[in-house]
Amino acid sequence: MGAAASSDGGPLVVAVASGKGGTGKTTVAVSLALTAPSPAVYADCDVEEPDGALFLHPAIDRERPFTQLLPVFVTKLCDGCGVCHDVCEYKAILVADTPLLFADRCHACGACAALCPRGAIREEPVERGAIRSGHRNGLAFVEGRLRIGEASPTALVREVRALAVAAGRRLVILDAAPGTSCPVIAAAHRADFLLLVTEPTPAGVADLARVADLAAHFGVPAAVVLNKADLWPPAQETVTAFCASRSLPYLGAVPYDTAFHAAARAGRSAVEVCSPMLAGRLLALWEDVRAFLDEAARARVA
């Protein structure tokens, strides 16, 4: 099976993204993961609201804290020079009478500690989330869960992605966050293939354009699937026209069906619960995705 092959030994990485939230990323990602044609890992990279586990019900083998090194000030050594404030990209440090850290802004880059001329900053691990890993039958599972109130998910996404890539499966399915900002880029920018899930609404179409720009910027091959397609038929033409104008392959449409809602309410994935017709439509996506993965694998050889 072509989708299983990757020339350099690493797995093939498929990221599922959408721009707009609520288009059906997780529905599609979970369905793809459950029906993957080769040994796969599903990684929930939407660490601010991970929900893949609600449908996959994985057995959790390991849970560990996600920590980052944050600066701690040794105030008796500080002479208030302000270098830490100046070098901080996010201005997470303010030097008043003594230095003050705005931890929610800190990206844990370490610049302040490395560059403090008085050695007045040391770093201590701070727990900012958790990583759970496990499996469901043959499917491996990884999930990042950012602690409530934390503002910086990107480093956690990177770690989840790295764990998924190192999981020893031939196929990695990354369920990315909505939007097009840093956490999405962290999941998607080095993917072999980006599956863009959109919906027939003005916001769905507008945000598709943004995430298509992201794919083009990072040179990641992308293709589009239109979910809830018959909710507003004119939008289907808008999406196909957009895809044509950007030379984005249009993989087709998944119809709107309340069976998806019923599946979600029951905590089950769509492929398990929906009618054979709907499940068949989701499965057929694999045929298209596989063609792109084969292409990606060939591109790696070249």
Partner: protein, 114 residues
């Protein structure tokens, strides 16, 4: 520890002049007009560089206040981190301020700390 500081009043300003309007934002104010306690000397701080900061404009503005020895800020609104920073630096803040900067300064100096 800073009780004997000389009074310095910063107004967030949309123009580099007392005749312009108060800029309603603190962190991303266009300018700060920094006056002494008698309103005799007014320095202009160009804060337009805050447009270039994707994050941290508020804390960067607090740092500018500290560098200038500001004791009181008059502005429209202050973000949560800037507010905490100003408090840590012992700088007083009066928010909800609007109108022409000169009027605001005169009114403030007229009522003193009240």
């Amino acid at each position: 520890m800073r009780g004997d500081r000389e009074v310095r009043i910063a107004i967030s300003a949309s123009e580099a002049s007392l005749d312009g309007a108060v800029d309603p934002r603190f962190g991303r104010a266009r300018f700060f007009l920094v006056a002494d306690g008698r309103g005799e000397r007014v320095d202009v701080v160009d804060n337009r560089g805050s447009d270039e900061l994707p994050h941290g404009a508020g804390t960067a503005a607090v740092a500018a206040m500290i560098r200038r020895g500001v004791t009181t800020v008059l502005t429209g609104q202050v973000g949560p981190r800037a507010e905490e920073g100003l408090r840590a630096a012992g700088i007083q803040v009066r928010t909800g301020v609007s109108g022409v900067c000169r009027d605001v300064l005169v009114a403030y100096l007229g009522t003193g700390e009240g």
